[in-house]
């Protein structure tokens, strides 16, 4: 890759990164930033169209949509970030154990990975959520438990290809324990792959949460999340389209930003492995 395209991809990514940072900051500061109290009901101003006072309008209880989008960001972003990190952890563990052990353990872990990949993720999650009726922490665990497989595969592939490299063989020859080889030599080399996979996983987790909440099996009202705001908006779309448009735009923009950042990380040239 040439210097100019590398700079170009970094330039493309920086507004996206800036957007994500600003969004996280806004979500953290939501109680101070939001123009109204989080669940303040204003029955005199129900279903108000966007205006100077209510930038994004109000919903069927007169709650300010901008305020709810900001408080919903806390939930949606937390689920996205934490579940992506958790699935990266599980995926790295499974992938590196499989890649290092080879043999029957490798076979077993990879068959379980294949089986999990074969079950359609969204329906599985929806069913699990309908069964468990999770709160937000359990929702994070569920999303993470159904999302580690791709990370496990790429980490395993990396570990396998790195294991034949001289610096790893040298570490083994000098008497390093398998754990030390893994922690000191293999995992640091896997970080570039992992960071791309995790960034993309954040976006995917946000999409999943919003879809589940949209179907009523994710985050439960009155807690706002971008997805369940859309669930409530669907029935009144023709009369109050703003209820559907704004939360959706935030999901879209956030996932887009994650994908742009993930793509640009993927463009960072990796050390030659051959």
């Amino acid at each position: 890759m040439t210097q100019s395209t590398r700079t170009a991809s970094a330039l493309r990514a920086s507004p996206a990164l800036l957007f994500l940072v600003a969004l996280v900051a806004a979500a953290v500061a939501a109680p101070a930033l939001a123009p109204f109290a989080a669940d303040a009901v204003d029955l005199a101003n129900r279903r108000a169209a966007p205006s100077g006072t209510h930038w994004f309008g109000t919903d069927e209880l007169g709650r300010d949509v901008l305020t709810r989008v900001l408080t919903g960001a806390r939930v949606s972003l937390a689920i996205g970030l934490l579940s992506a990190i958790a699935s990266a952890g599980v995926g790295t563990l499974v992938g590196s154990v499989a890649g290092m052990s080879r043999g029957w353990l490798d076979d077993l872990l990879m068959r379980v990975t294949d089986a999990m990949l074969a079950i359609p993720r969204l329906p599985l999650l929806m069913l699990a959520a309908a069964v468990v009726q999770p709160g937000i922490p359990a929702l994070i665990v569920l999303v993470a438990l159904t999302g580690w497989m791709e990370t496990a595969r790429v980490v395993r592939a990396d570990v396998l290809s790195l294991s034949s490299r001289e610096f790893i063989q040298a570490a083994h020859a000098m008497g390093a324990t398998p754990t030390r080889v893994l922690v000191r030599h293999l995992l640091p080399a896997v970080v570039p792959t992992l960071s791309v996979a995790t960034t993309l996983a954040i976006g995917r987790a946000i999409l999943l949460e919003s879809t589940m909440s949209f179907f009523g099996v994710g985050v439960q009202p009155p807690t706002a999340s971008w997805g369940n705001m859309l669930y409530q908006a669907q029935s009144t779309m023709s009369s109050e389209p703003w209820l559907a448009v704004f939360p959706g735009l935030f999901i879209f923009a956030t996932v887009l930003a994650c994908n742009v950042v993930g793509d640009s990380l993927g463009h960072v040239p990796r050390r030659q492995t051959a």
Binding site: A115, M126, L127, V131, T211, F215, F252, N259
Partner: protein, 318 residues
Amino acid sequence: MRLVTRRLLQSIPLLLLVSVVVFSLLQAVPGGPLAAYLENPNVRPEDIARLRAAMGLDAPAGVQYVRWLSAFVRGDWGYSYADGRPVLDRVLERIPATLELVLGSTLLALLIAVPAGIAAATRARVDGMLRVFTTAGVSLPVFWLGLVLQLVFAITLGWLPSSGRQSFGDTGLADRLTHLVLPTLVLAVVQGAAWTRYLRRSMRDTLDLPYVRAARLRGLSERRLVWRHALPNALGPFVTVVLLDAAMLASGAVVTESVFAWPGVGSLFTEALVKRDYPVLMAFLMLGAFAVVTLNLAADLLAQRLDPRSRDHAATGA
């Protein structure tokens, strides 16, 4: 041929493992499959005990699993809790609608992705513009795109019907086609964007290979280079991805069918979810996994046909 047999044999334990996962998930339901009755105050405890014995739910989990599995492979998928009809019938009657939607959107997505992917790989100016669209396309929440398209084309402009597969009474082809437009478009936009990105990358990788550079140095025209030398080799991995994603459309179909009230297997799933209709949910997941495993197999075999190198590997057992 040996490869086919080996891969077929490998997919059996895989499906068994899937069935264990799905079965244990339903065992984890508080109250088990009878949860719906437990919440109903009109069902007496002795009725529940009787139902439990009648349905074999008092047996150990392992026994229940074996019974369920042997019935399942014989085509006895149990009865829907919602209307008491055989699950197999309920699923089968919904399959044509889903196939119509999935095939339609796959076709449309390919019509977008193949020319767009080739153009993006070969023309820098087109690439920059297309990249904006494809990155946006893969980031769109499917259900939200559906809602927005409904809002614009059905509610505001009134050009297209907002939901369903056909109007009451009128079953003309034109009527069916207008109903198909929006849901197909939703799936095709997201899928087409992803496939464009993939084909672009696959073409770029191929165009970088030494044999293509050698051909260019020999003075071959750029057109011949792209269509004759690079494209056939780039299409191999692309076809694999298309087949794998076609199976994953099961997830996309759940969302799209529900938003557009499309009477396919996907909306059967969401209906069953609301009613906690576990036999139907279980059948859906097994069917989804079966589709993924089958198309995976098909993709492997096709890749092997398209790429002579992997044939050699298979022959030597490497």
